[in-house]
Point group: C2
Chain length 365, copies 2
Amino acid sequence: MDANQLVLQALEEQRATTECVGSWRYLRFPHRTHGIPRGTAVFDGDVIWGYPEIGRILRLEAGIREQFRAPFWVEEKVDGYNVRVFQHRGQVLALTRRGYLCPFTTDRLPDLLPLRIFAEHPDLVLCAEVAGPENPYNESHPPYVTEDVQLFVFDMMRKNDPHFVPHGERLALQQAYGLPSVPHYGRFELRDLERLKALLRWLNAEGREGIVLKEDSPRDQRAKYVTANACLHDIQVTAMSLLQLPPEFYTQRLLRLVLFLDEAELADSPALCAALGEAFIAGLRQALAQYRQHHKVFRTFRCRFRQEANAQLFIQSLRRLLGHPHVRQRRLAREGAWYVLEFDKVLPKETSMLGHLLGGGMVFD
Amino acid sequence: MDANQLVLQALEEQRATTECVGSWRYLRFPHRTHGIPRGTAVFDGDVIWGYPEIGRILRLEAGIREQFRAPFWVEEKVDGYNVRVFQHRGQVLALTRRGYLCPFTTDRLPDLLPLRIFAEHPDLVLCAEVAGPENPYNESHPPYVTEDVQLFVFDMMRKNDPHFVPHGERLALQQAYGLPSVPHYGRFELRDLERLKALLRWLNAEGREGIVLKEDSPRDQRAKYVTANACLHDIQVTAMSLLQLPPEFYTQRLLRLVLFLDEAELADSPALCAALGEAFIAGLRQALAQYRQHHKVFRTFRCRFRQEANAQLFIQSLRRLLGHPHVRQRRLAREGAWYVLEFDKVLPKETSMLGHLLGGGMVFD
């Protein structure tokens, strides 16, 4: 069965939900189903295929031996959120990984990349990471994006086609249209392992997240691999959400961290141990302090919009997604060219658990 | 309905399993069902009620305010495994919390307590903790048990009765028969909070696990509360099992640790942070090293038996419980008065996950 027939059939089986964001109305697949990735969206019959899941290796050498049969491209894995950018009815839109139309990213596209490419290639779907301290989703960001957000293209697809545009063709398009890209580190194979390990030690020292390996072959096998410091950093920035996130969020990062150190032949420095222990303790202390002061645990986000209406639409969408009481708008005000939105996401599970425990509640575990 | 009628009905509904250990044959409730605690066992019609679940508080002051309506006894929570000891057909037996007849504990009872009490009180069920470095279940033990194991009585029940023997009566029996007991710290109420907090800071400094609070009232309300150092110690001794244990094992202990420090007004010392970070990293390093050397991750246990046949029975029982390939006998040899058993428990989930990852396997998370 042709890929788009799969989608038609799944639509008939009502596996998609209807989404309305502002004046946009489209269908979204909230779950992976019958070979259709989660986040696949349908705009007036045009299928924007979901970005597929990329497997993770926790060992570089063994992972390359086991997963790759040909040389592979190495690109930086940028610590942001995944979007698909495409043109629909003359407007360029951005979908999140889960297939939600994002009013923030859509608002900011003219600042993030040259949009001319869509005039000449209206069927193109750019897959990109948006990253930076002023983003509404992630608590961490790459060290080299020091303000606002930036966009980094790492793949291209076409409407109604679940495959990626081939590597060479993608690079040519990126170059021709001056698209911002994730850092590219070149083409490697197993015999370049020492060079690759050196790259990873450098990325680790720089506090960068890691790499994505993409096989230079028709099957386009991929894998991701992250640095120890990225794992530590994740724990540092999220430890105050320890009761909100799934517990394996932390155990998986501890595992990745140690497997990285081991393979990179890096010792467990006392500074690393101290930072790791402190991350957990300081994070939970911070959650406690916040609960005491506000009777809630929350994270504050700030981001810039070009248009006030998009900021309002963003808050509305987020409230629909997370539940109205869990999104608190702090401020929406003009600052120079921008409308700056500040808002809190309340952590409901953590808030209620801390409330229960600080109130003397009992747990049976 | 009378409590024992509940059990009869549940037996009719086949909610119990038949257990055979050596020449002993009995019924065991593997799950909590209709008010019957998990681990309840039936020996020839005599019901040995399961030890009920005790709730945990993570805050001392608020927990006392919320959970207790009368003064309460404070006893030490000893870091061992829970057993119920009783006489059946003239022999004294020990059941684990889950209701398994334990050939190790049963073998060692004559060394652990004076058994004369059962001759005069044949319906008595002693609830006790067995703790020490040479035990076959726990990886940690109290600092004051430096070799072999010891037994500490903390409750009494009677056959066919799900209630505890009242506090005063229990203490009188313990004293009359010279039974070893968990440390008793006296009777407290809310206005003694500062004394109680001082006790907990001391227990924490000593590396002891914590306390159990038992209300001095007919309703016998109870709660447990553990120290920060007990949580740290749990993480230290189990971190090499990080992929075997449920991930919330770790997040719950991190939470308890920080809530304890906060209430005890103890600062996060750099030494504590370093120890916590090192616990995770060193534990996983150890698991890695073990996997490399043995292609398995396992924990080694050693314990002493009076009779060789009981050691063999113990290994058989454990193999039935954990699966034959996951229990490896290293050594069973006479040492002075003892038969010393050394064995490994393989961690199957951790072994297969490390094997997968070190072999270059991919995960989708």
